[in-house]
Subunit: 209 residues, 2 copies
DNA sequence: GGATTATTATGACTAGGTCATAAATACATT
DNA sequence: AATGTATTTATGACCTAGTCATAATAATCC
């Protein structure tokens, strides 16, 4: 292998790394940082089948839109299909490839947890409820593509200092129970400062440093 | 108010709704669905200060990139800063506005949970480990902007049928413990079919229907 | 030196816009 | 019915970040 060929190989790897790191780079940006011409970069991209900038960010946006809406964006993970306040509810989450461990294709636990927690909180009418404790069990691994059905039941309300809501959530794939969780939710009201020292960034209420 | 003015108002609202629902619509798409010309749509967009398609998806991609990387995309939530396999580790997650309940600005539990779970799994060297049980406690509400520091410790390994890893995770904001969780992880090996009936979409191994 | 490969240049074309200007249309008012 | 105004549409020049095809140049190997 000649010198030029080796250089090419190295540059192509660099191109891959660069766009992976920052998919918002134009061909001109790439050309500048790699000290080659724009056509060279285009050739590299073509052979590495890296799509053009606009396509890259379009894909990025498309990919993440659904996930973010159902995960980071909204208040609720999954779609609530039944809800009786202070009693129970049902919500559904379609799992997909973006939620799995690569190796095993098994859906990561925290997606299942998030579905359960969201539903548990949705059932409580209290203005703001937070999970205080949870006791959870994953019975069966879930694979991408499964439709998770969460059923939630408010079992008890106790007042021990503050109001505590005892909520049970079971999640099924078809008829198989894959998850079971008992959540103890706490109403976030005036009692906050008693049991809960609030820790925050800008919004620090009760300092601890 | 005349007829035309009213029509305009209605159309502008429709434009807003349409791009909100599907930010990937071109002006031509919008013009067609609204039965007006492209320039009209452009005028509407200008007055509603809706950016052009490319800018919209660029913003979408930029906004969600960070979140998705740390949430849905990668295997790990948070950034691992220390890791001793089969022993312990430390990971860090910077919380932000996208992770909170709107009303209270409190970080949603499942982000904290995900940080803990990710670290617990990372510590286990086993090819694929899954959470079997977890016992968790949220001590203190966390506000956006806090830097969460998760410390994890492998406490025990027991073989009860399959290998079980007993992992403790504590999460701090500064010196305050905000979360504590005991995870029992199960190695996902040959023992899978014994204790675990596998439920999945396309990859259904042990059917239940 | 000549063949081969890699790099660069060039030109024509594209989508999905921007901005500015002009023309056409519809409506309300006098 | 005529006119003024708001609204809508049309037009043309320009932009970015590309596409594709073709050609020319440069570097390396045999």
């Amino acid at each position: 292998m000649g010198k030029r060929q080796a250089q090419k190989e190295i540059r192509r790897k660099a191109v891959l790394d660069l766009v992976r790191e920052d998919p918002f780079m134009t061909d001109e940006d790439l050309a500048e940082t790699l000290n080659v011409s724009v056509p060279t970069v285009r050739l590299d991209r073509a052979e590495l089948s890296i799509p053009e900038l606009r396509e890259r960010i379009r894909l990025l946006a498309a990919q993440t839109r659904g996930k973010v809406r159902s995960l980071a964006g909204g208040e609720i993970v999954g779609e609530i299909v039944e809800l009786e306040l202070n009693s129970g509810g049902v919500s559904i989450l379609e799992t997909d490839d973006g939620m799995v461990f690569e190796k095993t294709q098994v859906v990561r636990g925290h997606f299942i947890y998030a579905l359960a927690e969201s539903l548990a909180i949705a059932v409580i009418t209290e203005d703001a409820a937070l999970v205080g404790f949870a006791n959870i069990k994953y019975a069966v691994p879930v694979f991408a593509g499964s439709r998770l059905i969460a059923r939630c039941e408010l079992r008890d309300i106790k007042v021990i200092g503050e109001k505590r809501f005892f909520v049970w959530v079971k999640i099924y794939v078809k008829k198989t129970e894959v998850f079971r969780g008992k959540f103890i939710l706490v109403a976030l009201g005036d009692g906050l400062a008693e049991d809960f020292a609030v820790v925050g960034g800008g919004a620090e209420l009760l300092g601890s440093g």
